[in-house]
């Protein structure tokens, strides 16, 4: 059988967690079949990433070039296209991250290989892989098959396959390959990274987060919950829709594009629990969710749940905290 390729993702001199999550899952797939696990590293010179990856993979194919210090969809696509054409891997895994979303579909068209995105499960026992995905914002799951092809592309959701601390390590071979000399200049060039999470409060330091989501309904209602957070001695945070509407600044946002938080208690008011949000509260001690929708995905990850109007519950909390 062929290889399972894992495309390493790195930023600012560090391999990103998604890389190890994919390697961990790929190793599991290799164990139940006879695939070889190959990590692909496209990076600037002298990163040390290859050694780090070699303990997770059977081999590491390294493409080093100054132009690869930062991610470039065009460069990645061209190099991966060629190595996939030569090595014919059975399966290629890419992170379902902002960068992976910019790369995988383009690579799929370029190689002619079918793509399934944002997968949370893969079976690859015999022949074609079958993947599991979430649809309708996690309210349903789907099992997806591919049209027969010479290889398959899959993007993997962050946090879907967390390696345990004692994940089995090996010592893979590091193979350096030349970056093709005839690559055309990328059509997009990196300028800078901008930190968008900094602000006057730091939600990552709070013991109690009182967090609001889409269920808040109107901008005016933010004040009510801010008042509740104050009365509870907690810090106000929120999910993405609240920031998208400009009702709170970005430094309040919990989730993959905002902050990961670890309060003792996370009180989620009117938050449905999209996976991008849930990923940000994995480190919370206790999660309490209040939502009108009994089927909201947040109840699947919360420790305690209340199916009710968040304003009624907020009002009752306030009364007891001031009156009691």
């Amino acid at each position: 059988m062929g290889d399972i390729f894992v495309v390493a993702e790195h930023r600012k001199g560090k391999l990103r967690e998604i890389t190890f999550e994919m390697l961990y899952k790929a190793r599991e797939l290799c164990r139940s079949s006879s695939h070889r696990l190959t990590a692909l590293l496209l990076a600037g010179k002298g990163t040390g990433f290859a050694d780090e990856l070699s303990s997770w993979a059977d081999r590491v194919l390294v493409f080093e070039d100054d132009r690869l210090e930062n991610f470039s969809s065009d460069m990645y696509k061209e190099i991966l296209y060629r190595v996939i054409r030569e090595d014919q891997p059975f399966l290629t895994l890419i992170g379902h991250t902002s960068w992976g979303m910019d790369l995988a579909p383009a690579l799929s068209v370029k190689t002619g290989l079918p793509l399934a995105t944002d997968c949370v499960g893969i079976q690859a026992d015999d022949g074609r892989p079958i993947v599991t995905r979430q649809i309708y914002s996690g309210k349903l799951f789907s099992r997806v098959s591919f049209k027969q092809a010479t290889g398959y592309l899959v993007t993997i959701r962050s946090g879907a396959f967390i390696p345990p601390n004692d994940a089995e390590k090996g010592h893979g071979e590091v193979i350096r390959r030349d970056v093709p000399s005839d690559l055309s200049d990328p059509r997009r060039t990196f300028v800078e990274f901008v930190d968008t999470g900094a602000g006057e409060i730091d939600i990552t330091q709070a013991d109690l987060l009182v967090s609001v989501g889409r269920g808040i309904g109107e901008e005016e209602n933010i004040a009510t919950i801010r008042d509740l957070a104050d009365k509870m001695g907690g810090t106000l945070s929120c999910s993405r829709p609240v920031v998208d509407k400009n009702w709170l600044p970005k430094f309040h946002q919990v989730g993959t594009s905002g902050k990961s938080v670890r309060p003792k208690v996370y009180l989620a008011l009117g938050i449905s629990g999209a996976f991008q949000h849930v990923a940000g509260i994995a480190g919370a001690g206790t999660v309490i969710a209040v939502n009108k929708d009994r089927k909201a995905p947040i109840f699947r990850v919360a420790d305690y749940g209340v199916v009710d109007d968040l304003f009624k519950v907020a009002e009752a909390l306030k009364q007891q905290l001031t009156g009691g």
Binding site: D74, A106, P114, R143, F146, R188, Q320
Partner: protein, 259 residues
């Protein structure tokens, strides 16, 4: 600046119990209300803003039945100049086929920018935009939260994970997948939608487009849709608001938070 926006109508699923349909591969849609895909709403707004400041035209495209024209009329009311609906009939479409259809439709149009949403709220694939970019041979960026064209290039801001944005320069023409929050979409009144009824809306049957059977063959297939596996889930606290509140206060204190 000529801009094409690719948009979609999706079912509203917040606070709705979804039911799996008879063949087990989709959901029952008859009882669902439909809206414009949230990402696409931002996408139209961004296109209209660029057109307002730089001139040119905005064309909105959707693939769907007559009911889906609702999102095109909405786009026209927001300021798009013309709209195109591609009628797919009863064909099963995946992201690949959709990108093939859109590519064929866009190929002959002069454009500087193609905008799509990052993803659709129903299938959550997040792949059509960049598939389309590669079909059209356009430069591209995904998860865009800012775009400023300047001559033959544009400065784009891409949202990464962990409170970090990436700024880059991209050569035009280009395809960008637009993230929610990039702007504040304007309000659309019923009156506005009615007025926009005068604008041009073209319907193209898929069968007239000259796509090959291979182009129209899905690369992926949903075999089965199922409810999320049972988890232990939350311990539910029942009762009136007052008793719920006192129980919550007890729990929060027990977990070591001083109230």
């Amino acid at each position: 600046m000529n801009i094409i926006v690719c948009i979609k109508r999706v079912p509203m699923t917040q606070e709705v119990d979804l039911e799996i349909d008879a063949n087990g591969r989709g959901v029952k849609t008859d009882a669902l209300a439909y809206v414009i895909n949230d990402w696409d709403n931002y996408c139209i707004e961004e296109a209209v803003r660029l057109q307002e400041s730089l001139g040119g035209s905005v064309t909105a495209i959707t693939i769907g039945g007559e009911d889906d024209e609702e999102v095109l009329r909405r786009a026209l009311a927001m300021g798009a100049d013309r709209a195109v609906r591609i009628e797919p009939g009863t064909r099963e479409l995946d992201g690949f086929v959709i990108s093939k259809i859109l590519a064929k439709a866009i190929q002959g149009m002069a454009c500087d920018l193609v905008l799509t949403g990052v993803q659709a709220d129903d299938d959550n694939n997040g792949s059509v935009g960049i598939l389309l970019a590669e079909q059209l041979g356009l430069s591209h960026a995904a998860v865009v939260t800012g775009v400023e064209p300047a001559g033959a290039t544009a400065t784009v801001r891409v949202e990464l994970e962990g409170g970090m944005d990436e700024v880059s320069t991209i050569r035009l023409p280009s395809l960008l997948t637009i993230q929610t929050g990039i702007n504040e979409p304007r309000y659309v009144s019923i009156m506005g939608i009615r007025k926009a009824g005068k604008k041009e809306l073209t319907v193209i049957p898929l069968s007239d487009m000259g796509l090959s059977e291979d182009d129209l063959t899905p690369r992926t297939r949903i075999e089965e849709v199922f409810l999320p596996p049972e988890t232990e889930g939350a311990e539910m606290i029942e009762g009136d608001a007052a008793s719920v509140a006192s129980e919550l206060i007890r729990i929060i204190k027990e977990k070591g938070v001083n109230l």
